[in-house]
């Protein structure tokens, strides 16, 4: 009996090991970045994907991972859409205090120009 318990414990701790549950949903963020950097034909699609991801997470009331709103803002900014960029930078700042100094600078720059 004790033996059984022991082996169950061993098995359990072996299985759990270093496994940890995810804090955030990343969707295809990494893949989108590869495409964005290396595949000009898929660049637009990668941006679209990313915007979809943050919108879906926001709609589902899920915590959007660090940096994902900011990346959406930068994609928008590079496409010339300043208003959307400001909106996303503000969301990043609101959710992640560590991003505030940078986001404030970016928002101020965009609003000044």
């Amino acid at each position: 009996m004790t033996r059984r318990l022991l082996s169950t414990l061993i098995l359990g701790s072996m299985l759990s090991g270093c496994a940890s549950t995810s804090l955030y949903t990343w969707g295809t963020y990494e893949d989108d970045l590869f495409k964005y950097f290396h595949d000009p034909a898929q660049k637009e699609l990668a941006v679209e994907h990313h915007l979809d991801l943050v919108q879906k997470l926001t709609a589902a009331d899920q915590v959007v991972a660090p940096g994902l709103y900011a990346e959406a803002g930068t994609f928008a900014f590079l496409e010339g859409d300043k208003a959307t960029a400001v909106k996303f930078y503000a969301l990043e700042a609101e959710l992640w205090p560590e991003s505030r100094p940078l986001m404030t600078v970016l928002i101020n720059n965009l609003e000044a120009n």
């Binding site: 414990l9 963020y29 590869f34 964005y36 991003s99």
Partner: protein
Amino acid sequence: MRVFKSFLIVLIAVAVTGCATTTTMDFSQYHETKPRSILILPVVNDSLDVEAPTFVLATLPRVLAEKGYYAFPVNTVKTLLEFEGLYTPAEIHARPTSELAELFGAESVLYVVIHSWTSKYLLFTTTTEVDFEYTIRDKNGEQLWSARKKMAYTPQNNNNSGGAFALVAMAVSAAVEKAKPSYLPLTRQANNNVFYIDNTRIPPGPYSPIYDDYYVKLQGE
């Protein structure tokens, strides 16, 4: 019997520690600084593969954010550095850490250098290898942590039929590995090992559910 017993003890020890290995690294400076955020700089590439640095760069935010840190958005950072006139990773790494940290309001900065990113094709085997060096500095430039990781992968064949067929199978899997080398799985494994598993694994960040426990325990020691 004695052998069996000691084997069991080893097994239990392994099971209890899980994937943990004994910590020999000095984390005192890291523990004192307790950075909340990590600025991931563009990756310096000493290999010949032009895609390598962006592949590595894109795999880092998730690893660090899941560890509980605020990881700065890598494409936003790269874009802003370009606006500042800093285009190449080498010139970015050469700037004072304090200047970069201040520019982004970061509490720490991660530098990654790719030493090797190759796939060597011999007649019947292809070996893919990556070798990375990671360093985290605090916002004043003081080194908090560093690790170096080399990973290699050679596809194995379990074809026991022998003879010509086995050679064909080997050649095919070597060719497959050559055409599509396992850089990404190796990169993920290297990241995972240095940040989560090896004795270099970094302390949890402020958004980790075990952050408070970690530092409370540390004070008790």
